[in-house]
């Protein structure tokens, strides 16, 4: 009893901390000049979002978030940024940029306000008519979140799961094709350079 009341007391603070961290670091992603800073800020966003998932009671997704997003995808992105040795983009201010950015921000503000006005009743109100499942928090705790998740993945969602494997195969082939193209281009360039050098 003691711990559960403590959790209900702490929960809002944890949520507000990580939610504001996620939002601030997401804003930092779009305002920082150096792509590397953007990427590092995005890692912070992903970690905060993982904390939010854990808070919702979805440990499975929190783990995947850290393993796949922060661990794999962002490492790849940061590796590519450092590999390309990108300079900080000069945020030269151009008139058409200001107009375009203004339009974008106004548009998104309108979208945000529209969504918020939809939420006047609170989200649970709009979910009232939805079909409820039977995997409550108590069931998750007694049967194990990972077990329930994997069981669903390999029975009810078997076909999408297999289709995902198809998608990953396509991605592998695609990367092989593109990267072989890169090495070929570099090789031809070197070859041309060599022949030119010989000509001299």
């Amino acid at each position: 009893m003691e711990t559960s009341s403590l959790i209900t007391f702490i929960k809002p603070f944890v949520f507000y901390t990580f939610a504001s961290l996620a939002v601030i670091s997401a804003i930092m992603v779009i305002v920082s000049r150096n792509p590397l800073n953007s990427a590092v800020m995005l890692v912070l966003t992903f970690f905060s979002i993982a904390a939010v998932y854990a808070l919702m009671g979805s440990e499975v997704i929190a783990v995947f978030q850290i393993l796949v997003y922060a661990g794999a995808i962002m490492v790849l992105v940061i590796f590519v940024i450092m590999f390309l040795n990108l300079r900080p983009s000069n945020l030269k201010i151009q008139f058409n940029h200001i107009i375009r950015s203004g339009i974008a921000i106004v548009f998104m503000l309108i979208m945000f306000i529209a969504t918020m006005s939809l939420l006047t009743e609170g989200v649970p109100f709009y979910m009232a008519n939805a079909a409820k499942g039977d995997i409550t928090q108590a069931v998750l705790e007694s049967q194990g979140a990972f077990q329930l998740f994997s069981r669903a993945l390999f029975t009810e969602y078997l076909l999408p799961f297999e289709l995902t494997s198809l998608l990953l195969t396509v991605a592998i082939i695609g990367v092989v094709v593109l990267i072989r193209g890169i090495t070929n281009t570099v090789a031809t360039k070197k070859e041309n350079f060599k022949t030119k050098g010989d000509g001299k």
């Binding site: 709009y126 079909a131 390999f154 009810e156 078997l158 076909l159």
Partner: protein, 495 residues
Amino acid sequence: MNDMISTKLNEILATNNFGLLAPHLIVSIGAVILMLVSVMSRNAFRNNAVLAIAILCAAFYFALPRDLAQTVTAFNSMVLKDFFSSVEILLFTLTGILVVLISHNYLKKRSTDIPEYYSLLLFAISGMMFMASSADLIMVYIGIEVLSVALYVMAAIDTKDINSTEAGIKYFLMSVFASAFLLFGIAFIYGSVGSTSFSAIKDFAMFNGFNSSHFLYAGVLLILAGMAFKISLAPFHLWTPDVYQGAPLSVTAFLSTGPKIAVFAFLFRFFYQFQNVQPYPELLQDIVVALAVITMIVGNLLALNQEDVKRMLAFSSVTHMGYVMTAFTTHSTEAVSSAMFYFTAYIFMNLGSFALLSVISRDNDKNLNVENFKGMAAKKPLLAFLFMIFLLSLAGIPPMIGFAAKFFIFSSVIHAHMYLLAIIGILNSAVSAYYYLRIIVNMYLKTQNEDTGNNFKEINFAVPEITVVAISFLAVIFLGLQPSFLIQWLSKIVI
């Protein structure tokens, strides 16, 4: 516990029918086989083309509908098979076969003979098939991503050409942006319905109506926006011309037919299940009508002053999707069959003209300018005649198939008493004749300037292209003269 899982798994695997997914499985496994062949075989590029055609023909055979009235679902109602999905799959395999035939010599000429190209093409087609037969938004999402990921690479397949890379990058950035909107829409629908399966969404909408649930409404609109990006309906079309011009011609041929048909398959299946919802959401209907009108007008206006024929065909494909969209607004089964007829017609006339362009093209398609077609009739009369037939069909001039297709589309609109929309469509169709006729005038009535034009001497009209052109030509003429049996067959489609 383990017993429970195995019984559940057996249930999933027993209640389904793998035969129902036969075309999908043939194409997916075939794509993997092609991948292996491209590593092991020495003459992989040619072997893969032959194998790809064989695989697609097998898929075509297995996709032929046996029982027209039957609807079967499988895999925990993730996929379904009915007459509509069978027709879609037939169209995809047909597109695939024609695109393989167009690609082979063209890519060789461009020295882009990458054997994995065919593997990617088959993966894209299997993604399209899964989209067309999906009965759940999860399947739709993964299917469209299989399709898109394969297409990003195909658009950028010519790694020596900067334009091809740019096309790939632009397509990638726009497409993932659109996917995010699509996903957000799916999330909202899931939140309000509690399921992502089409039938559950339909039941929810029938029972609760649209206006009671803002989430469902917002979700449907976001999905429409995301899909409009993917099929480049105006005002979401801005990426289209650059991608179509930059990508290799054979990829452009595929991009302008297959994926659009697949997305329309989803749109018809998903939105038509709301047709009996009372009251039907006014805003949604208005937005769909506005999309149709804007798409037709914008596509036409932009195509009018294009000098590059590939770019012009890109904008004209936007217009063609606008015509289909007018039928989509009517919510009648007649619209579905007329749209399917239109797609059949569009595959033949579009891929026919792309096959001819692939023969004419040189220097990475840089010679495909309207000016360069001057005097073609004198040098290559047969080629010019065939190209004229396809262009006239695209313009919708009788007795070609394009006329019949437009006739069915607009008659379905008129039967739904949407006269203004039909008039706008017919006027647009008349305007579109201008830019098709411009090429024909250049071919027949203008003489060539020797310095700038094509000399049409290096044209190598080989067996694959001849096959495509012959099939398309016969289809364009015969289905144009005798469209009744095809439209009668297609009118048995019930969604």
